[in-house]
């Protein structure tokens, strides 16, 4: 084992030991709760959580279901669909807001008198958790999905904005130098150099944020901001945990599906599966579609 490895192992051992000391301080030396807690969890799981109440996936009695498959009129489906819609709109609005602000917050793109105030705005937006935003918007706009969408949008701007400006600051200087020397404007540099150069990471962050908003949308229902969270809150208050469990299974399956979808989309912008894209707009098209989207390449014309 070389000297570097032994130092690393020593550092990790020290960190673990330090964590145990801090945890011991937090539980005030009483580890009895941990052993009792495990038994409580098994008891709770067997008596209250499992099996899930799958009636949540069946059509509601009111309003009357107009489609042949009852699932599409169920509380789980309708609640999840509303959460996905909220997350989708909030992620897109949030992404647009975040990319606009992050290009004004990156040190390598704008002078300090611009990036400093913009960073403060992003920090303020980020420092309030989305559930606090949701409470604020419920007060302003009343109960319902609009408050949820606005809460997620504001949180997305703050959170994604920080990730994005850090990514933009990490980009190599030379493409910016070449573009600036050419005399391109700030907006041209942002849209034609900065965004395409960071496209892989920006896309990855966008998809992560959508998944995050879907998961987090379930929490916002707790304060009346709509979506599947409304039902979660409702049944938790009634201690009907088997119904809550059915909703949790649905959320889990949807998150897995979104993750697979996100992997599929990102596969187009990795080195293995590349889009032959003439512009960053066609990032969402497959290589074949991207080629069709734009005119034929010269090589085909000459044949």
């Amino acid at each position: 084992m070389n000297r570097g490895n032994s130092r690393l192992i020593l550092l990790i051992s020290f960190l673990l030991f330090f964590c145990i000391v801090v945890l011991n301080d937090l539980v005030q030396g009483d580890w009895g709760n941990l052993s009792e807690g495990w038994g409580n969890l098994i008891h709770f799981w067997n008596d209250s959580l499992w099996p899930p109440d799958w009636s949540m996936l069946e059509a509601q009695s009111y309003p009357e279901c107009q489609v042949s498959i009852g699932f599409f009129c169920s509380k789980a489906y309708l609640g999840m669909l509303e959460t996905i819609k909220m997350a989708f709109v909030a992620t897109i609005f949030g992404f647009i807001g975040a990319i606009s602000l992050s290009t004004l917050a990156a040190k390598n793109l704008v002078p300090s008198f611009v990036y400093f105030p913009v960073r403060i705005i992003l920090a303020i937006t980020r420092s309030l958790p989305s559930i606090i935003w949701a409470i604020l918007f419920v007060v302003v706009f009343g109960l319902g999905p609009l408050a949820g969408v606005l809460a997620m949008t504001f949180y997305t701007i703050g959170y994604l904005g920080k990730l994005q400006y850090e990514e933009l600051e990490g980009m190599h200087r030379e493409p910016l130098d070449a573009a600036r020397a050419m005399g391109l404007t700030h907006s041209e540099i942002v849209t034609n150099v900065v965004i395409p150069e960071s496209s892989n990471t920006l896309l990855s962050q966008l998809l992560f944020m959508f998944e995050y908003n879907v998961r987090h949308g379930t929490v916002l229902g707790l304060v009346g901001a709509g979506g599947i969270g409304y039902y979660l809150n409702y049944y938790m208050q009634l201690f009907l945990y088997q119904k809550v469990m059915a909703f949790l299974v649905v959320i889990f399956i949807v998150v897995i599906i979104i993750d697979l979808f996100s992997m599929f989309i990102r596969s187009f912008v990795t080195d293995e599966g590349d889009i032959n894209k003439p512009s960053w707009v066609s990032i969402f098209l497959s290589p074949k579609q991207a080629r069709k989207f734009h005119e034929k390449p010269i090589v085909e014309e000459s044949e």
Binding site: D177, A179, M182, L184, N192, N276, W280
Partner: protein, 223 residues
């Protein structure tokens, strides 16, 4: 008498410390000036000052009718290409800078695409037009950077050691393209080159950095 497009008078450049001082240089139409010297003496910094990317510590720099949109073409050491975008996109950046923006973006884009395709074709990259830059070889990437400059049609081309890693045939091909461009478009070129023998073959004037000063090294080939 050839028209001067750039003049540097008693210029001092550097960052915290002074790198080169007392720089006096006139660049005229048709000039191909090579700057030689070991690494770390300020060659890249000098190009960046001329490109208007950083300000000199002292002295006077005058750009004559070239400090405008598309007037200066800059090829950095690692080419400054957008790696995740296609050849077309990168060359279009040059064409974009070389034209005046129009509110009719579709028409503007169509007009630019003619110049872009011509430049790509001239560099023999038609088959790679929609390939992302990171999938191209080093030589092909250099040709993309050349095509971007051709599509831009600048009056002054600044190139930072961009001929390194190329064999002599490719150097000759690329330099022939640039020489013909400079002749036909009343332009000039300043390039940083570490290989003195190569600098003698491609330039009309060689300058070297020695003792923190820019001096004339020797005469290159005839114009």
């Amino acid at each position: 008498m050839p028209e001067s497009i750039l003049s540097l008078k008693n210029l001092t450049i550097g960052y915290e410390d002074e790198l080169i001082h007392s720089i006096d240089l006139q660049v005229e139409i048709g000039d191909i000036i090579a700057i030689v010297g070991p690494s770390g003496l300020g060659k890249t910094t000098l190009l960046r000052v001329i490109a208007g990317l950083i300000t000199p510590l002292n002295g006077e720099i005058t750009w004559r009718k070239i400090r405008k949109r598309g007037g200066i073409g800059y090829i950095p050491q690692r080419l400054g290409l957008v790696r995740h975008a296609s050849v077309f996109h990168n060359v279009d950046l040059g064409a974009r800078a070389g034209t005046t923006p129009s509110w009719n973006i579709f028409r503007w884009s169509k007009e630019r695409s003619i110049d872009v395709k011509e430049a790509i074709d001239e560099m023999g990259l038609s088959e790679k037009m929609y390939q992302p830059i990171r999938k191209l070889s080093g030589g092909q990437q250099r040709r993309v950077a050349t095509a971007r400059t051709l599509a831009q049609k600048p009056k002054l081309i600044l190139a930072d050691e961009f001929l390194s890693e190329l064999d002599q045939d490719n150097v000759n091909n690329i330099m022939n393209v640039f020489k013909s461009y400079i002749e036909n478009n009343d332009a000039a070129m300043i390039l940083v080159e570490h290989d003195i023998e190569r600098a003698k073959k491609i330039s009309t004037k060689i300058l070297e950095i020695k003792d923190s000063q820019l001096r004339i090294f020797s005469s290159g080939v005839e114009k």
